[in-house]
Symmetry: C2
């Protein structure tokens, strides 16, 4: 077995992502010699202990990070500023501070100013997840074949970047480096907007009169159902994602809305060619996905 990448890894937040990393680290042994889990409640840490997915649990984030050479923020991004302020004085010199948040400019904005000199701050985002949450939802194969995007600020220590990249490779992930602003724009269209749309259409259906609402559920297989899987995700996480990628998300939503209105106009005025052309483009995108084995 390879030498562990880190002596001690502290996971601040132990939900779907954090507990998956914990499981992999415990199973493989070559990621960290010691896994420390932190959560906001004893109830969550009780689950962590029952599941046996950490060597040690700590209710106090500051104590959890003490002596860790890797600290990974795995909480909703809206909690990062407070967490960073709380742990910053306790970070070990030379430690790497990373995260798994779905928005990266906000993380640099909220965490960056708290990072003490001598600590390496390497933001990251594993593109993986399910609609389930909490420490019971994690599993060791979550990241297999998926992508993790690293958005280290300019001037980051190359060795620290490489160690975070290697951690994600050992988790089964592909790794790509990306500018934080570009990350937020790409994620706005591939993930944040689809989730916003999914939540919205569920609400639209839920507002229908009682009889129609029952029939939406009964006949959901006709297309609606495909939109609901991603609508079952964690509300606090998604609230924070939307609020912390506001500009890119609103821009993509504005583009989408313009396109939807153009489609509505074509439907209203019977512009068959326009509609057929847009539907054809959907097929083309789908075919590209199949060719890339992403479908």
């Amino acid at each position: 077995m390879a030498e562990p990448l880190f002596r001690r890894i502290a996971l601040i937040g132990i939900g779907l992502i954090g507990s998956s990393v914990a499981r992999i680290a415990m199973e493989r042994g070559d990621i960290a010699a010691e896994v420390v889990a932190n959560a906001r409640t004893e109830a969550t840490l009780d689950r962590v202990r029952a599941l046996g997915i950490a060597h040690r649990t700590e209710l106090d984030a500051a104590r959890a990070v003490e002596g860790a050479d890797l600290v990974m923020l795995c909480a909703p991004v809206g909690a990062y500023a407070g967490l960073a302020a709380a742990i910053a004085p306790h970070l070990a010199p030379g430690a790497i501070l990373t995260d798994v948040g779905s928005t990266k400019q906000s993380v640099i904005r909220d965490v960056g100013p708290h990072v003490p000199p001598g600590v390496h701050f390497i933001p990251a985002h594993p593109l993986a997840g399910t609609e389930h949450s909490g420490p019971d939802a994690g599993f060791a194969t979550l990241f297999e074949g998926r992508w993790t995007l690293l958005t280290p600020p300019a001037g980051s220590d190359p060795d620290a970047v490489e160690r975070v990249a290697e951690l994600w490779r050992r988790c089964g992930s592909n790794v790509q480096r990306m500018d934080a602003a570009h990350h937020d724009r790409v994620l706005a269209i591939v993930s944040h907007l689809p989730h916003l749309i999914a939540f919205t259409i569920c609400g639209t259906a839920d507002d229908l009169e009682e009889e129609s609402r029952q029939e939406v559920l009964r006949f959901a297989a006709s297309g609606f159902r495909d939109f609901t899987r991603i609508a079952a995700s964690d509300p606090v996480m998604w609230r924070d994602v939307f609020l912390n990628n506001r500009e890119a998300l609103l821009e993509m939503l504005a583009r989408f809305t313009e396109d939807a209105q153009a489609m509505a106009r074509a439907v209203r005025w019977g512009d068959a060619d326009y509609i057929e052309d847009r539907v054809e483009r959907g097929r083309k995108i789908r075919r590209s996905l199949i060719e890339l084995n992403q479908a």
Copy 2:
């Protein structure tokens, strides 16, 4: 084996739905003693013959319906008016004329006036499909456990309604009777709007600058992908569905757009409670689907 429901069934159009019905009728033997397939091109009928999913093929729709006691329109709904005019003089007295179109008020509007006295017109809509099309795409289990909605006009012959219902039950489907206007409204939200949204977001992504477009494909698993499966469906069929359920679709799209704009406003102004509440409603709908075994 039960007595065949019909002596001769004529399938006008032999794509995903028509060829699935043909396969079931050929396999079971208790739906029709003879299966006649009609298509617009000899190339399609060549495939039908190669697949062996009909007893007889006819390029002329009028000839296909002669002597049939069940005629089923399985073409895109935009072709119905022309088809109805062409076949009407050739329908056998006492025959049942039915269809599988995704819009029902338009079908009654376009086909109804052509139906000769003594022919029973029983519109139907099997809620089943895949993103594939053509006679090769059909399969005998397509309708199993799915719903078929019947929208017979007031005063329809109860025996004719029952025979169409029994046909769909023998195809493995559940059957429910529904008013045509109500059908169009329910389908607008469970199927037509989700498809319109899926086609639209694919177009929005396709309009991005080249680099981002490539990354949309690479990182599609983050949510976007779930929207693309249904975006791969047949363009002509969907163009016709949108144009023939215009009012209900535009109303549901308007409701959805209002809701999406309210969400955009909450994101812009940081209304965390509103966002969390909408996301919670998405989860609630998803849970209801899981309880109903529709997920």
